[in-house]
């Protein structure tokens, strides 16, 4: 029983780990922070669920853990009075791109507004349905679908060769 559950989480994490970290990057300043968030969320989720039946809940847990961390970091930053600070901080997701066209595509994804990028990340690399995305992000299915459509439109526009 113990062994089976051990193997289960390893299989799940091997499949989902990179995409979970990619999702968590939206709220973190570094990849290491994103991995810490995923670690915390995955442990929290797995201890109670032991399966991936409710995938939306896993992503909601990652989001919740990331927001908790963001709040803690913001409190710390306020105390330390950080002088240089971007109002609209933009954190780029990371991809293992092999060629120039993939790099261009990755850069275009990174330029998407946060709200659109997270929907694309959940849809493309985490393979969630719009219903699951809506649950994970606490938005309506229509909103999830329209953000996805806007994102793909923007990507298409960005990738078109300029005159």
């Amino acid at each position: 029983m113990e062994v089976a559950s051990h193997e289960d989480w390893q299989i799940c994490f091997a499949q989902l780990g990179p995409a979970l970290v990619l999702f968590a990057r939206r709220w973190t300043q570094s990849r290491a922070d994103a991995e810490d968030v995923v670690q915390e969320a995955f442990v929290r989720f797995w201890r109670h669920q032991h399966s991936l039946e409710n995938r939306a809940l896993l992503y909601a847990t990652v989001r919740s853990a990331a927001l908790d961390r963001l709040r803690r970091d913001q409190r710390r930053q306020r105390r330390e009075v950080i002088a240089a600070r971007d109002d609209e901080t933009h954190y780029e997701p990371e991809f293992a791109s092999d060629n120039e066209s993939e790099e261009l595509l990755a850069a275009a994804v990174a330029r998407l507004p946060n709200e659109q990028r997270e929907v694309v990340i959940l849809k493309i690399w985490n393979e969630l349905t719009f219903a699951e995305i809506a649950q994970a992000l606490e938005i309506s299915q229509n909103t999830a679908a329209s953000r996805y459509r806007y994102a793909l439109n923007a990507l298409k526009k960005n990738l078109q060769p300029h005159e």
Partner: protein
């Protein structure tokens, strides 16, 4: 039919960067530690409760002190006040009557999802309210009044249902 099928296919070719090699080991260690400590909860309930009870205790202590001061001031205070019940009856005997209790919520935070170990791992939304409670007594005979105000932090867990 889908204008974006080609773009979606290109996006799917992009692979998120692999996670650090030690991330799975860290998760395994955390899961093992969680298994070995049955009550290693995610909920910071103990801290919250402690804070809540500290505030309540502080409020009660302040209330007791003010009641004693008020009795001394009006030269009607009993020498030994043993319990809050005794204090209440003494207050009534001295002519002080409770005239009001107000609770003002001045801040509320949605702290995201948590998993209660006492509820089969079902998720709950944690809402934190910071309030100020004010109790007032009035002595109709002398026109004196006593007011005690103290901060209270409340954490409310509401069930969340996905689907």
């Amino acid at each position: 039919m889908n204008d974006f099928s080609e773009l979606e296919a290109d996006l799917k070719k992009l692979r998120p960067a692999p996670v650090s090699q030690d991330l799975a080991q860290r998760i395994e260690a955390e899961l093992q530690r969680a298994n070995s400590v049955a009550t290693a909860g995610v909920l910071p309930a103990r801290r919250v409760r402690s804070s809540h009870w500290q505030s309540f205790g502080l409020g009660c202590a302040g209330l007791a002190a003010l009641v004693v001061i008020a009795f001394t001031y009006f030269d009607q205070a009993p020498q030994n006040v043993a319990t809050s019940e005794a204090k209440s009856s003494a207050a009534r005997a001295s002519g002080f009557q409770p005239v009001g209790l107000t609770q003002t919520v001045y801040s509320s935070h949605d702290e995201g999802l948590v998993f209660s170990p006492n509820d089969a791992g079902n998720p709950r939304r944690r809402l934190r309210y910071e309030t100020r409670e004010t109790m007032r007594w009035h002595n109709a005979a002398t026109g004196a009044s006593v007011r005690v105000s103290y901060p209270v932090e409340q954490v409310v867990l509401t069930p969340v249902s996905f689907q």
